[in-house]
Amino acid sequence: MKLGFYPGCSLQGTSREYNESVKALAAAFNIEMKTIDDWNCCGASAAHSVNKELSLALPARILALAEQQGFEQVVVPCAACYNRLAVTQYELNQDHNLKSNIEQAIEIPFNNHVKIINVLQFINTYIKDKIADKIKKKFEHKVACYYGCLLVRPHKILEFDRVEDPTSMDELMKTIGATPLEWGFKTECCGASLSIARTDLVGKLSGKILKDAADRGAEAIIVACPMCHSNLDMRRPQIDEYIGKEISTPVIYVTQAIGLAVGITPEKLGLQRHFVKVNIL
């Protein structure tokens, strides 16, 4: 099967280490993914707030290109892009008039049946069973698996994991020897796109998440979304200010944690790019 890859804009910029670690992991497990040619921005998290048609047309062009280029399945590591692509696919399949309007806007007719998978589904499908044989150094740390909002909600559309207490990332962490903790903020929002205009609120929302993880003894927070990562990592000064003390718990992408366990170097996984030093290597 031809497996497509949609990086999205964050993975080309501030979250390039996520891109690096997804690709390094795929290469280590001999998985061939091909980037959708001429992909565009999906519009998250701005378009839906100001223009419904635009918020559907931008992801629709990506879905149509993927189909045109013969992909049956597309891996979308960014949770926000994954959400927008999946929601657009659903909305257009529900409403034929809307679909034909959007098709006119993007000027590419398409069937809209490409399967969109997030990073956890990708790992579960193509990698999970092979991890045990490849482990070089167990990732023996207590971790708080942070799913965020967009991987699991809305459940009716995404149909992925459990909406209140998802477990798929926790299960993956067990396979590399980590101890996932029970904690209260698995799916609470980090403040998402308030990052620029309302940094104070991101400090508060991400602060609550980080404090709970640290209080329960997490040595790292594991994430699968570039927006969650940059809010918990890059906005650490605002978080520390909200909490009133410095918290040194690093934030690591799920692909980096697994990558480390199967012996990929920290440099190849981009761990040196985090603002909060990864102090558990």
């Binding site: 998290s45 839906h48 100001v50 308030l194």
Partner: protein
């Protein structure tokens, strides 16, 4: 009775706000309810009254711009009312009717700057977006301290990425903006 507000929302978004019986789970779970002038359940209730004064209050509220569509409310709503979709509708209406809360101007500027960058090259350039945002809001010094470490970590792309078929993106923007 002729509930115009509920009818308009239903026609545009497919969401039936009249199904809400004010259990309050959305507001209880909303991570930003504390910071909102009206929490989600109150917004829905005010819309249900179909009162022009209430509508105006909602469209000029800060709440609708604080909402990040984290979808916690719909996840917990016993009637599965898609509040985030209603929020999208309210934001669009608020811009259309030119009554965006002054407290939310920066958030709207962020969204516009984001889309400006996408319109230009087909992909988001964090640098172009930030420059557009700074020019719009005059927050020239915000996050400047981050620049040296972002450069050192290779996280700041100086040359915006561009897609090949930029025409198609320009056309998408044109068609979806003028159809309103």
């Amino acid at each position: 009775m002729n509930h115009t507000t509920a009818k308009n929302i239903k026609e545009t978004t497919g969401v039936d706000i009249d199904k809400c019986y004010q259990c309050g789970k959305c507001s209880a779970g909303c991570i930003l309810a504390d910071d909102m002038d009206y929490p989600p359940s109150v917004i829905i209730h005010m819309l249900q009254t179909d009162d022009q004064t209430n509508n105006k209050k909602i469209l000029s509220s800060e709440s609708i711009w604080l909402c990040q569509n984290c979808e916690n409310c719909i996840g917990r709503c016993p009637m599965e009312i898609d509040i985030p979709k209603v929020m999208d509708y309210l934001r669009t209406e608020s811009v259309k009717k030119k009554c965006v809360s002054h407290k939310a101007k920066n958030q709207l500027s962020f969204y516009r700057s984001f889309l400006d960058s996408v319109r230009m090259s087909g992909r988001l350039s964090e640098l172009v977006m930030t420059i557009c945002y700074k020019l719009r809001t005059f927050n020239l010094l915000q996050d400047v301290k981050l620049v040296p470490s972002m450069l050192a970590k290779g996280k700041l792309k100086l040359i915006p990425e561009s897609i090949k078929n930029k025409k198609s993106i320009k056309s998408i923007f044109k068609k979806t903006t003028t159809s309103k």
